[in-house]
Protein backbone atom coordinates (compact mmCIF):
# COMPACT_ATOMS: atom_id res chain seq x y z
CA UNK A 1 0.00 0.00 0.00
CA UNK A 2 1.53 3.33 -1.06
CA UNK A 3 1.78 5.77 1.81
CA UNK A 4 0.36 9.16 0.89
CA UNK A 5 2.72 12.07 1.48
CA UNK A 6 1.33 14.64 3.90
CA UNK A 7 0.06 17.83 2.30
CA UNK A 8 2.57 20.67 2.75
CA UNK A 9 1.46 23.38 5.16
CA UNK A 10 0.63 26.89 3.98
CA UNK A 11 3.87 28.08 5.55
CA UNK A 12 5.89 25.48 3.67
CA UNK A 13 4.23 26.45 0.39
CA UNK A 14 5.02 30.12 1.02
CA UNK A 15 8.64 29.20 1.78
CA UNK A 16 8.88 27.22 -1.47
CA UNK A 17 7.23 29.88 -3.59
CA UNK A 18 9.38 32.66 -2.14
CA UNK A 19 12.57 30.65 -2.71
CA UNK A 20 11.50 30.13 -6.34
CA UNK A 21 10.55 33.79 -6.71
CA UNK A 22 13.87 35.03 -5.33
CA UNK A 23 15.67 32.75 -7.80
CA UNK A 24 13.39 33.02 -10.80
CA UNK A 25 16.18 33.79 -13.27
CA UNK A 26 16.22 30.23 -14.61
CA UNK A 27 18.34 31.24 -17.59
CA UNK A 28 21.15 31.91 -15.12
CA UNK A 29 21.19 28.29 -13.96
CA UNK A 30 21.28 27.11 -17.56
CA UNK A 31 24.06 29.46 -18.64
CA UNK A 32 26.08 29.82 -15.45
CA UNK A 33 25.67 33.60 -15.34
CA UNK A 34 24.02 35.93 -12.88
CA UNK A 35 21.07 38.21 -13.60
CA UNK A 36 22.13 41.80 -14.29
CA UNK A 37 18.79 43.52 -14.72
CA UNK A 38 17.30 46.49 -12.85
CA UNK A 39 15.40 44.31 -10.34
CA UNK A 40 18.70 43.81 -8.57
CA UNK A 41 18.43 47.26 -7.05
CA UNK A 42 15.58 45.77 -4.95
CA UNK A 43 16.53 43.79 -1.87
CA UNK A 44 14.71 40.56 -1.11
CA UNK A 45 13.82 40.29 2.60
CA UNK A 46 15.47 36.91 3.29
CA UNK A 47 19.02 35.60 3.01
CA UNK A 48 19.64 34.91 -0.68
CA UNK A 49 23.04 35.51 -2.26
CA UNK A 50 22.95 37.94 -5.17
CA UNK A 51 25.66 35.86 -6.85
CA UNK A 52 23.29 32.93 -7.14
CA UNK A 53 22.78 32.51 -10.90
CA UNK A 54 19.03 32.52 -10.35
CA UNK A 55 18.83 35.52 -8.00
CA UNK A 56 16.65 38.35 -9.28
CA UNK A 57 17.07 40.65 -6.28
CA UNK A 58 19.84 41.87 -4.03
CA UNK A 59 20.84 40.28 -0.75
CA UNK A 60 19.95 42.62 2.13
CA UNK A 61 22.95 41.56 4.19
CA UNK A 62 25.46 41.92 1.36
CA UNK A 63 23.95 45.29 0.48
CA UNK A 64 24.18 46.45 4.10
CA UNK A 65 27.84 45.50 4.38
CA UNK A 66 28.71 47.22 1.13
CA UNK A 67 26.80 50.31 2.19
CA UNK A 68 28.67 50.38 5.51
CA UNK A 69 31.96 49.90 3.65
CA UNK A 70 31.10 52.88 1.43
CA UNK A 71 29.67 55.01 4.24
CA UNK A 72 32.67 57.33 4.21
CA UNK A 73 31.50 58.51 0.79
CA UNK A 74 27.72 58.11 1.08
CA UNK A 75 25.42 57.53 4.08
CA UNK A 76 23.72 54.13 3.99
CA UNK A 77 20.20 55.60 3.88
CA UNK A 78 18.71 53.24 1.30
CA UNK A 79 19.55 49.86 2.79
CA UNK A 80 18.94 51.03 6.37
CA UNK A 81 15.52 52.31 5.32
CA UNK A 82 14.72 49.06 3.48
CA UNK A 83 15.73 46.90 6.46
CA UNK A 84 13.76 49.13 8.82
CA UNK A 85 10.63 48.75 6.71
CA UNK A 86 11.10 44.97 6.40
CA UNK A 87 11.55 44.68 10.14
CA UNK A 88 8.57 46.85 11.04
CA UNK A 89 6.22 45.16 8.62
CA UNK A 90 7.34 41.54 8.80
CA UNK A 91 9.97 41.11 11.52
CA UNK A 92 11.09 37.51 11.82
CA UNK A 93 8.09 36.31 9.82
CA UNK A 94 10.71 36.73 7.09
CA UNK A 95 12.80 34.02 8.75
CA UNK A 96 9.87 31.67 9.14
CA UNK A 97 8.23 32.19 5.76
CA UNK A 98 10.44 34.09 3.31
CA UNK A 99 14.01 32.88 3.74
CA UNK A 100 15.34 30.22 1.33
CA UNK A 101 18.18 29.33 3.65
CA UNK A 102 15.73 28.87 6.49
CA UNK A 103 13.79 26.48 4.27
CA UNK A 104 16.95 24.51 3.48
CA UNK A 105 17.69 24.18 7.20
CA UNK A 106 14.19 22.96 7.98
CA UNK A 107 14.27 20.38 5.18
CA UNK A 108 17.63 19.07 6.41
CA UNK A 109 16.18 18.74 9.90
CA UNK A 110 13.57 16.36 8.52
CA UNK A 111 16.28 13.73 7.94
CA UNK A 112 15.48 11.11 10.57
CA UNK A 113 18.24 11.16 13.17
CA UNK A 114 18.45 11.85 16.88
CA UNK A 115 17.89 15.53 17.47
CA UNK A 116 19.59 17.93 19.86
CA UNK A 117 16.86 19.58 21.95
CA UNK A 118 16.95 23.20 22.97
CA UNK A 119 18.48 23.93 26.36
CA UNK A 120 19.94 26.77 28.43
CA UNK A 121 23.12 26.29 26.35
CA UNK A 122 21.32 26.81 23.05
CA UNK A 123 19.63 29.86 24.49
CA UNK A 124 23.04 31.31 25.37
CA UNK A 125 24.36 30.37 21.93
CA UNK A 126 21.48 32.27 20.34
CA UNK A 127 23.18 35.49 21.43
CA UNK A 128 26.24 34.75 19.27
CA UNK A 129 24.42 36.02 16.18
CA UNK A 130 24.32 39.52 17.67
CA UNK A 131 28.09 39.36 17.93
CA UNK A 132 28.26 38.21 14.30
CA UNK A 133 26.09 41.18 13.34
CA UNK A 134 28.22 43.69 15.24
CA UNK A 135 31.60 42.31 14.19
CA UNK A 136 31.24 40.90 10.69
CA UNK A 137 28.35 42.90 9.24
CA UNK A 138 29.08 46.29 10.80
CA UNK A 139 32.51 46.28 12.46
CA UNK A 140 34.74 44.84 9.77
CA UNK A 141 33.18 46.80 6.87
CA UNK A 142 33.26 50.01 8.95
CA UNK A 143 36.89 49.45 9.94
CA UNK A 144 37.96 48.94 6.36
CA UNK A 145 35.79 51.83 5.21
CA UNK A 146 38.23 54.10 7.05
CA UNK A 147 40.90 52.73 4.72
CA UNK A 148 38.68 53.07 1.68
CA UNK A 149 38.72 49.28 1.23
CA UNK A 150 35.29 47.70 0.75
CA UNK A 151 35.27 44.46 2.74
CA UNK A 152 31.97 42.69 3.46
CA UNK A 153 33.14 40.69 6.45
CA UNK A 154 30.19 38.31 6.79
CA UNK A 155 30.03 37.57 3.07
CA UNK A 156 33.74 36.98 2.83
CA UNK A 157 34.31 34.81 5.90
CA UNK A 158 31.03 33.19 6.92
CA UNK A 159 27.95 33.37 4.72
CA UNK A 160 26.86 29.81 3.89
CA UNK A 161 24.20 31.06 1.47
CA UNK A 162 26.93 32.66 -0.62
CA UNK A 163 28.90 29.42 -0.69
CA UNK A 164 25.91 27.21 -1.46
CA UNK A 165 23.87 29.40 -3.79
CA UNK A 166 26.65 31.53 -5.28
CA UNK A 167 29.92 29.62 -5.24
CA UNK A 168 28.75 26.06 -5.82
CA UNK A 169 26.01 26.81 -8.33
CA UNK A 170 28.32 29.06 -10.37
CA UNK A 171 31.44 26.92 -10.14
CA UNK A 172 29.72 23.65 -10.93
CA UNK A 173 28.59 25.05 -14.26
CA UNK A 174 30.88 23.86 -17.10
CA UNK A 175 31.21 27.42 -18.47
CA UNK A 176 32.89 28.70 -15.29
CA UNK A 177 36.19 26.85 -15.37
CA UNK A 178 38.01 30.14 -14.81
CA UNK A 179 36.23 30.57 -11.48
CA UNK A 180 37.10 27.04 -10.41
CA UNK A 181 40.75 27.72 -11.18
CA UNK A 182 40.74 30.64 -8.74
CA UNK A 183 39.66 28.74 -5.64
CA UNK A 184 42.01 29.06 -2.69
CA UNK A 185 42.13 29.05 1.11
CA UNK A 186 39.16 31.33 1.66
CA UNK A 187 36.92 29.19 -0.55
CA UNK A 188 37.85 25.99 1.27
CA UNK A 189 37.35 27.69 4.64
CA UNK A 190 33.85 28.79 3.61
CA UNK A 191 33.11 25.40 2.08
CA UNK A 192 34.11 23.64 5.30
CA UNK A 193 31.94 26.04 7.27
CA UNK A 194 29.03 25.35 4.92
CA UNK A 195 29.39 21.59 5.41
CA UNK A 196 29.56 22.07 9.18
CA UNK A 197 26.48 24.29 9.23
CA UNK A 198 24.40 22.04 6.97
CA UNK A 199 25.41 18.97 8.98
CA UNK A 200 24.50 20.74 12.22
CA UNK A 201 21.07 21.54 10.82
CA UNK A 202 20.32 17.84 10.52
CA UNK A 203 20.63 17.48 14.29
CA UNK A 204 19.84 20.98 15.52
CA UNK A 205 16.72 22.75 14.32
CA UNK A 206 17.71 25.83 12.25
CA UNK A 207 21.22 25.86 13.72
CA UNK A 208 22.42 28.71 11.51
CA UNK A 209 19.25 30.73 12.08
CA UNK A 210 19.41 30.43 15.83
CA UNK A 211 23.12 30.89 16.45
CA UNK A 212 24.78 32.72 13.55
CA UNK A 213 22.41 34.56 11.23
CA UNK A 214 22.95 38.32 11.55
CA UNK A 215 19.87 39.04 9.44
CA UNK A 216 17.72 37.19 11.95
CA UNK A 217 19.46 39.16 14.70
CA UNK A 218 18.62 42.41 12.93
CA UNK A 219 14.97 41.53 12.38
CA UNK A 220 14.76 40.18 15.92
CA UNK A 221 15.59 43.64 17.25
CA UNK A 222 12.28 44.81 15.80
CA UNK A 223 10.32 41.73 16.87
CA UNK A 224 8.08 43.50 19.35
CA UNK A 225 7.13 46.19 16.84
CA UNK A 226 6.54 44.03 13.76
CA UNK A 227 3.04 44.31 12.33
CA UNK A 228 2.78 40.70 11.19
CA UNK A 229 3.33 37.69 13.37
CA UNK A 230 2.21 35.39 16.15
CA UNK A 231 0.69 37.32 19.06
CA UNK A 232 -0.60 36.32 22.47
CA UNK A 233 -3.91 37.50 23.90
CA UNK A 234 -2.80 38.08 27.50
CA UNK A 235 -6.39 38.04 28.74
CA UNK A 236 -6.74 34.39 27.69
CA UNK A 237 -3.20 33.19 28.44
CA UNK A 238 -2.85 31.12 31.63
CA UNK A 239 0.98 30.81 31.42
CA UNK A 240 0.67 27.04 31.14
CA UNK A 241 3.89 27.00 29.08
CA UNK A 242 2.65 24.61 26.39
CA UNK A 243 3.70 27.10 23.70
CA UNK A 244 7.24 27.34 25.09
CA UNK A 245 7.60 23.56 25.27
CA UNK A 246 6.47 22.94 21.69
CA UNK A 247 8.52 25.78 20.21
CA UNK A 248 11.68 24.58 18.43
CA UNK A 249 13.39 27.99 18.80
CA UNK A 250 15.01 29.45 21.92
CA UNK A 251 12.14 31.75 22.81
CA UNK A 252 11.41 33.14 26.24
CA UNK A 253 7.97 34.24 25.12
CA UNK A 254 5.90 33.76 22.00
CA UNK A 255 6.71 36.49 19.49
CA UNK A 256 10.02 37.54 21.06
CA UNK A 257 13.27 38.13 19.18
CA UNK A 258 13.91 34.38 18.73
CA UNK A 259 10.45 33.54 17.40
CA UNK A 260 10.23 32.80 13.68
CA UNK A 261 6.43 32.70 13.76
CA UNK A 262 6.10 29.12 12.54
CA UNK A 263 2.75 28.85 14.38
CA UNK A 264 3.35 25.53 16.17
CA UNK A 265 2.26 27.25 19.39
CA UNK A 266 -1.14 28.16 17.91
CA UNK A 267 -1.96 24.46 17.51
CA UNK A 268 -1.11 23.52 21.10
CA UNK A 269 -2.70 26.41 22.98
CA UNK A 270 -5.77 24.95 24.70
CA UNK A 271 -7.02 28.40 25.60
CA UNK A 272 -6.88 29.78 22.05
CA UNK A 273 -4.77 32.63 23.34
CA UNK A 274 -2.38 32.67 20.38
CA UNK A 275 -3.11 33.82 16.86
CA UNK A 276 -1.24 34.88 13.74
CA UNK A 277 -2.13 38.48 13.07
CA UNK A 278 -1.47 41.37 10.75
CA UNK A 279 -2.18 44.25 13.10
CA UNK A 280 -5.73 43.63 14.33
CA UNK A 281 -6.58 41.26 11.45
CA UNK A 282 -6.44 37.61 12.52
CA UNK A 283 -5.02 35.39 9.80
CA UNK A 284 -4.87 32.14 11.77
CA UNK A 285 -6.19 31.22 15.20
CA UNK A 286 -9.02 32.65 17.21
CA UNK A 287 -10.04 36.27 16.86
CA UNK A 288 -9.84 37.64 20.41
CA UNK A 289 -13.06 39.60 19.89
CA UNK A 290 -15.16 36.47 19.21
CA UNK A 291 -16.47 34.16 21.97
CA UNK A 292 -15.19 30.56 22.14
CA UNK A 293 -17.05 27.81 20.27
CA UNK A 294 -19.77 25.87 22.16
CA UNK A 295 -18.32 22.61 23.48
CA UNK A 296 -14.79 23.72 22.66
CA UNK A 297 -11.74 22.75 24.66
CA UNK A 298 -12.14 25.81 26.85
CA UNK A 299 -14.89 28.04 28.08
CA UNK A 300 -14.92 31.42 29.69
CA UNK A 301 -14.17 29.95 33.10
CA UNK A 302 -10.72 29.02 31.66
CA UNK A 303 -11.01 25.43 32.94
CA UNK A 304 -9.80 24.18 29.57
CA UNK A 305 -9.33 20.60 28.62
CA UNK A 306 -9.01 19.51 32.22
CA UNK A 307 -12.85 19.24 32.52
Amino acid sequence: MVKKLPRPSTRRLIQLYSALLYNAHLKGFAEGEIYTGPLKSVCVPGLNCYSCPGAVGACPLGSLQNAVAASADRPAFYIVGVLLLFGLLLGRVICGFLCPFGLIQELLHKIPTRKVPKSPLTRRLSRVKYGVLLLFVIGIPAWFALRRLPLPGFCKFICPAGTLEGALLLMLHPANEALRAMTGGIFWWKFSLLVLILTSCVFVFRAFCRFLCPLGALYGLMARLALLGVKVDRSRCTDCGACLRVCPMDIRAVGDSECVHCGKCIDVCRFQAISFRAGKLVLRGRDPSTPPRCGSAQDDTGKGARQ
Partner: protein, 46 residues
Protein backbone atom coordinates in the same frame (compact mmCIF):
# COMPACT_ATOMS: atom_id res chain seq x y z
CA UNK B 1 -2.94 56.12 19.72
CA UNK B 2 -0.81 53.99 22.07
CA UNK B 3 2.89 54.72 22.53
CA UNK B 4 3.82 51.53 20.72
CA UNK B 5 1.71 52.43 17.72
CA UNK B 6 3.09 55.97 17.69
CA UNK B 7 6.63 54.59 17.79
CA UNK B 8 5.82 52.16 14.97
CA UNK B 9 4.36 54.95 12.86
CA UNK B 10 7.34 57.23 13.50
CA UNK B 11 9.83 54.49 12.61
CA UNK B 12 7.85 53.55 9.52
CA UNK B 13 7.87 57.17 8.37
CA UNK B 14 11.61 57.29 9.07
CA UNK B 15 12.11 54.13 7.03
CA UNK B 16 10.21 55.58 4.08
CA UNK B 17 12.17 58.81 4.32
CA UNK B 18 15.48 56.92 4.42
CA UNK B 19 14.54 54.89 1.35
CA UNK B 20 13.63 58.05 -0.56
CA UNK B 21 16.79 59.83 0.54
CA UNK B 22 18.78 56.71 -0.31
CA UNK B 23 17.37 56.59 -3.82
CA UNK B 24 18.14 60.28 -4.25
CA UNK B 25 21.70 60.03 -2.95
CA UNK B 26 22.51 57.04 -5.15
CA UNK B 27 22.21 54.26 -2.57
CA UNK B 28 19.89 52.16 -4.72
CA UNK B 29 22.28 52.58 -7.62
CA UNK B 30 25.12 51.32 -5.42
CA UNK B 31 23.08 48.22 -4.50
CA UNK B 32 22.44 47.54 -8.16
CA UNK B 33 26.08 48.14 -9.11
CA UNK B 34 27.25 45.56 -6.58
CA UNK B 35 24.49 43.01 -7.22
CA UNK B 36 24.97 42.80 -10.99
CA UNK B 37 28.61 41.73 -10.65
CA UNK B 38 29.69 38.34 -9.33
CA UNK B 39 30.62 38.99 -5.70
CA UNK B 40 34.08 37.46 -5.36
CA UNK B 41 33.94 37.71 -1.56
CA UNK B 42 30.59 35.89 -1.45
CA UNK B 43 31.81 32.96 -3.55
CA UNK B 44 35.06 32.64 -1.66
CA UNK B 45 37.40 34.05 -4.24
CA UNK B 46 38.08 37.50 -2.77
Amino acid sequence: MTRKRALWAALFALGLLLVVLGVLNGGARDVLAKAVKICSECIGLG
